[in-house]
Amino acid sequence: MKILIVDDEQLARDRLVRMLSNLAGYEVVGQAGNGMQAIEVCEATQPDVVLLDIRMPGMDGLEAARHMAGMDTPPAVVFCTAYEEHAVEAFKVQAVGYLLKPVRRDDLVEVLNGATRTNKAQLAALAATEDAQRTHISARTRKGIELVPVEDVRYLQADQKYVTVRHAGGELLIDETLHELELEFSSRFIRVHRNALVATAYIEGLERNEEGHYQIRLQDVPNGIDISRRHVSAIRKYIRKL
């Protein structure tokens, strides 16, 4: 069984490596010190199980797990925590594997043998209990998992099935609903249309196109985004407050 160990503390990683080396049938294929690194190493090494610390600087374990769940062959995830009352409650509710630090050998063996893939719904539910916003939006592309920092996103536009994420460096298609994104990032985006959310930080102004429809102009975005009639007054009020 291939295992990836993710923890920001070197000592904690060393201990897990040592424990696993004393057990037959497990191979540590990689280590990572934060969430971003974890996703990279995970794609490169394709582990069966990721032992994932929750509290890490930069991207934390819960968010890393959500992005990993979007991989072609997502690994099973086991969360590790020293003390996180709420999280442990949530793990129990969502039936997600977890270990309490200091990790005991018997617990480790048991949880590795029973480790199953955690699905996106479970992870989203966990994130909801933590009331956490992701720092990145991820999509599966030919290059693997692509991560875009949320603060670089200009707008989100819903198609039939997907949501287009327009960001500083291009576009990304993600498999999430606009409604969920609106709830998660309510502090950052504002709805201008049934099918569009725009980043408030990049709003430049309001304009009317040739047909007389209102559009919103965003920094670094050449084309205007349509504003539906029932959102016009709210958007206007919002811009005036800026």
Partner: protein, 349 residues
């Protein structure tokens, strides 16, 4: 995000106890009667008639005052302590004036002020007595209230201290460090156990205890040593301790929690870590300690609650020991978070 020192001021309560119940009224009547006896003995006119008349007068004043205070209590409880006392004083004096005028008319047997003029001299005398006694009673309640509040805050400080000093996170992280080290580096593991024991021994100590600054700094060093093992070179601490008297004392575990805050909120969320600076100066019989830590973007909001709790905890302990002479402020200055602690130390004795 800067928290001001008076943020934790509790809502002031009315200094006069609740008079809206039978036992309290009983006591009021009894005290009123004792006052009647004092007045009776002082006047030299010790007769049943005198007793009856004075009782009638005093009980009118006392019971009407009790009624008025009971009735206005919900409102008065919301205004300040001093304003409440002033209000009570004013109400009782006003009632005394009204009853005195009423009594004067009853004695005169006429409502016509032209025929029998008011005996202003007697009324002034009665008002004077009422004012003095009311003042004394209010002063008594005021002192009692202050005593009660002080006891209360000491108790709260102690409970809070016990609750928040031992951060469960720190305990379990330390245990994890020991478990990790025990096989590969038993000597370091041993020293972690020693450091941890000292920290816990200190945290189980009396909340109001003062120790030598050097001892508190030694505790801080033990604490940093443990966190250093966990965070490695991500944690850098710069000590800038100016000259200070050897006998300088500080409430136990005041600096350590500030340092802990700085590490948990300023260093841990940063992938590349950062530097914490501790600056200590002793000037003009005051000690000033400044702790600065980097301010991680966005992270601060989610963790400010625990931060505020720790600060308020230290504040209430300082308040018990130094009153207004000590202050603890926290503010953001550019990209750093600065916590400043100031308290007096005069004792060169």
């Amino acid at each position: 995000m800067a928290a001001t020192p008076n943020e934790q001021a509790r809502p002031s309560r009315f200094i006069i106890p609740d008079l809206c119940n039978a036992p309290a009224l009983g006591v009021v009547v009894l005290v009123g009667e004792l006052l009647v006896l004092v007045l009776l003995f002082a006047s030299g006119d010790v007769t049943w008639d005198g007793l009856a008349l004075k009782s009638l007068y005093v009980q009118w004043v006392v019971l009407m005052s009790a009624g008025a205070l009971c009735w206005t209590r919900p409102w008065v409880a919301q205004i300040g302590l001093a304003q409440g006392a002033l209000f009570a004083f004013f109400i009782i004096t006003a009632i005394t004036l009204a009853v005195s005028v009423g009594a004067d008319r009853v004695v005169a047997g006429s409502l016509d002020f032209g025929r029998v003029p008011l005996d202003w001299e007697a009324i002034a005398r009665q008002l004077g007595i009422a004012a003095i006694i009311t003042g004394m009673v209010l002063r008594y309640f005021y002192v009692q209230q202050q005593l009660r509040e002080q006891e209360q805050s000491e108790l709260e400080a102690r409970i809070q201290a016990l609750q928040s000093r031992i951060r469960p996170h720190f305990l379990f992280n330390s245990m994890n460090i020991i478990a990790s080290l025990i096989a590969v580096d038993p000597d370091t593991a041993e020293s972690v156990v020693e450091d941890l024991s000292e920290l816990f021994r200190a945290s189980l100590n009396d909340a109001g205890n003062q120790v030598l600054l050097a001892e508190e700094l030694a505790l801080c060093e033990r604490y940093v040593r443990i966190e250093q093992l966990r965070l490695g070179d991500r944690l850098r601490v710069k000590w800038d301790l100016g000259d200070y008297p050897d006998r300088l004392k500080i409430p136990l575990l005041t600096l350590q929690p500030l340092l802990e805050n700085a590490i948990y909120h300023g260093i841990q969320p940063l992938p590349e870590g950062g530097t914490i600076t501790v600056t200590l100066r002793y000037e003009h019989r005051h000690v000033q300690v400044r702790i600065t830590n980097p301010l991680p973007a966005g992270h601060f909001r989610s963790h400010s609650q625990g931060n505020k709790m720790a600060l308020n905890n230290i504040r209430s302990r300082l308040n018990v020991l130094y009153g207004d002479a000590a202050e603890l402020t926290a503010e953001t200055a550019g990209d750093v978070y600065v916590t400043t602690l100031r308290f007096p130390f005069a004792g060169e004795d």
